[in-house]
């Protein structure tokens, strides 16, 4: 916790095995989430990205190994205590029918409230700040059902922001969004990280966006971490072929100078190197 090199990590997984019923998804996995950075987890469908994220957020208890938050076993901590330090936006949260944006965002204050402390000045301030940061203040009175996909996603992020946790986990926050809204959401993530110093972990599908926004990339395949580190080290033509089975050329992104994966034409070559 106090060491500066390598970057300290408030949230880490230590030899975890994650399983649903009998199906083991992840086994003996180690991960340190670097503080104050944006970590992006990438990997093919069903490689265990979301499962890993759920276990980091205490939603899934490892059947072996442990997840530590600030050095304590996360599964022995009170749920509320975890919720004050770590926020999570799940893949498909459900908005109750007819709920207003402000009421939804206000629910992010839950871990800071008590039975007879239902709405303090700091609750009001945090919700206002979250709405402002996500540019949804003028939507406050609207019903969530009426919003576009991009607006709705910003509102959900606002809810997680209102929780005021230094650690924020986002499970595929850009799914179902068009390219403009994907960029909006990720710019917002970057702002949160740069201006407020929040540690963010994001699961993403788009490798190029992952490279552009991540300080630290974690690449997963079949429940294992294949590589992790800065994008330029992790995302290479070789690693993309190994992990995704996709032949590609990796060049420098002309805007951000991060790796840019250009898929090769998969049909023109013989398929022997797929094996």
């Amino acid at each position: 916790m106090t060491s500066q090199h390598p970057p300290s990590s408030r949230l880490q997984a230590d030899g975890v095995r994650l399983a649903y019923d009998d199906a083991v998804v992840v086994d003996d996995l180690d991960l340190q989430v670097p503080d104050g950075q944006i970590t992006v987890i990438v990997g093919p469908n069903a490689c265990g990205k979301s499962t890993l994220l759920r276990s980091l957020a205490r939603l899934l208890k490892p059947s072996a190994g442990r997840v530590l938050l600030d050095g304590d076993l996360i599964h022995s901590m009170p749920t509320k205590e975890v919720a004050r330090r770590l926020g999570l936006l799940p893949q498909s949260p459900i908005a109750p029918e007819g709920i207003l944006v402000v009421d939804l965002v206000a629910r992010g204050r839950t871990p800071h409230q008590k039975l007879f402390q239902q709405w303090s000045e700091s609750d009001e301030r945090a919700v206002r700040a979250a709405l402002t940061a996500t540019d949804t203040l003028e939507l406050a009175d609207r019903a969530v059902d009426e919003l576009s996909g991009g607006q709705r996603q910003r509102v959900w992020i606002a809810m997680a922001l209102a929780q005021e946790t230094e650690l924020l986990l986002l499970d595929e926050p850009t799914t179902f969004l068009d390219i403009t809204h994907q960029i909006d959401v990720l710019d917002l993530v970057r702002d949160l990280n740069e201006h407020e110093g929040r540690t963010v972990v994001v699961v993403l599908h788009d490798l190029n966006l992952a490279c552009r926004y991540a300080h630290h990339i974690v690449m997963m395949r079949e429940g294992d971490i294949v590589a992790s580190g800065p994008p330029a080290q992790v995302i290479t033509a070789d690693s993309v072929r190994d992990v995704f089975g996709l032949r590609s050329v990796v060049i420098d992104d002309p805007i951000s100078a991060t790796p840019l994966v250009i898929p090769a034409d998969q049909r023109q070559h013989d398929r022997s190197d797929d094996q």
Binding site: Y20, R58, A83, G98, I99, V102, A106, R107, Q117
Partner: protein
């Protein structure tokens, strides 16, 4: 909506020139007092006040009418402790407990229905549809038929039956978690099975017990005494506050289990507690007046619409349930006077069309 906003604005407008920036974001009012704060939804509160007023009016009316009419003034005087010669027996022994039981069971059913419908995320998830009330009825009938039970024993039987039914339905519907539609379908099936078993018990019982059990099974407020008032009063006094306190958790669970957990709610424990409270509420309602059909089923949706709120509306649902039951009982007594119908027939006549409409709509939208 706009008038509420205005009210809110005026509440926060004291800090004058920053008023625009300080308008309370939330609908409703916040009452703050030395470190404590309570949120009050103005519309929900008004709805409750209006429903409460209606409830008092209908109750007084219901007590006053009958084969032996008593003026409203005498009714009030009797309740306040100055009975006339006739009114003491008719009001104090016959009609007042009847109305109070109606209010009480309506409230327990309304709360229980609102909790279950929110947990299951489906209006069909109410305890009278998914067999929990049938389970409670089986427990109560067993107590009546086998033990010739006292009101306390009937209550205990009902609660035990309700919990066992809930447990059975839950386990049967379990398949890597519980899906709403599975729970509803399994629950409806379980309700039929339980009712068949009740019929069997009735055929094997003493004729006097059969009489007592059958009237009770239709859901009737006829002949309710202070014993039954006591059952629902205890139920409401103990479980009501618990339900109200837990509404906060219920509303977080409505965002999905993962989101609720991320907000610091202990999902498994909260659900268990909510189910227990809701089953006990419904079961004690059943113990007092039988499985009055559809009250739990209609109260929640009506309350939500009246309060125009996305929350579970447990308190408004209690008032709606009470009002529906008392009105239905008044109608059941007077529509075919002097013949009295059991209140359950009346509520079924009201609730069944709504059920059909809802089934048709959910079948069309694919929710079921």
């Amino acid at each position: 909506m706009t008038d509420l906003r205005d009210e809110v604005t005026s509440g926060a407008g004291t800090r004058h020139h920053t008023a625009a920036a300080h308008v309370l974001l939330l609908r409703g009012r916040v009452i703050r007092w030395s470190g404590f704060s309570v949120r009050l939804d103005v519309r929900s509160t008004s709805v409750c006040v209006v429903l409460c007023g209606l409830l008092v009016v209908v109750s007084l009316w219901s007590i006053s009418v009958g084969d032996f009419p008593i003026s409203i003034r005498d009714v009030i005087a009797t309740i306040l402790g100055n009975p006339t010669e006739d009114s003491e027996f008719i009001v104090g022994t016959l009609r007042l407990p009847r109305v109070l039981v109606g209010i009480g069971v309506g409230a327990t059913f309304g709360m229980s229905g609102a909790i279950f419908q929110s947990l299951v995320r489906n209006p069909l998830g109410s305890p009278d549809i998914i067999g929990f009330n049938a389970g409670a009825a089986l427990g109560a009938v067993t107590a009546i038929v086998w033990f010739d039970g006292s009101p306390t024993q009937v209550s205990a039987g009902a609660v035990a039956g309700g919990i066992i039914a809930a447990l059975a339905v839950y386990l049967l519907a379990w398949k890597r978690g519980v899906q709403a539609y599975r729970l509803v379908l399994v629950g409806i099936g379980a309700g039929f099975a339980v009712n068949a078993f009740i019929d069997y018990l009735i055929t094997r019982a003493e004729i006097n017990d059969v009489q007592r059990a059958t009237v009770w099974l239709t859901g009737s407020l006829n002949g309710r005494s202070w014993d039954e008032v006591r059952i629902v009063a205890v139920a409401l006094a103990v479980l009501g506050p618990l339900a109200i306190i837990m509404q906060r958790r219920l509303d977080r669970l409505d965002l999905g289990d993962d989101t609720a957990a991320a907000l610091g709610i202990n999902v498994a424990r909260s659900k268990l507690a909510l189910v227990l409270v809701a089953v006990c509420l419904a079961s004690l309602g059943v113990a007092a007046a039988g499985p009055i059909a559809f009250v739990a089923f209609v109260a929640g949706p009506i309350a939500r619409r009246l309060a125009n709120s996305p929350s579970a509306c447990i308190v408004p649902a209690a008032f709606v349930g009470a009002l529906v039951t008392v009105v239905a009982d008044l109608a059941a007594r007077r529509l075919l006077a002097p013949t009295e119908l059991p209140v359950g027939i009346m509520t079924a006549a009201l609730g069944a069309p709504y059920l059909l409409w809802l089934l048709a709509r959910q079948a069309r939208t694919g929710a079921l």
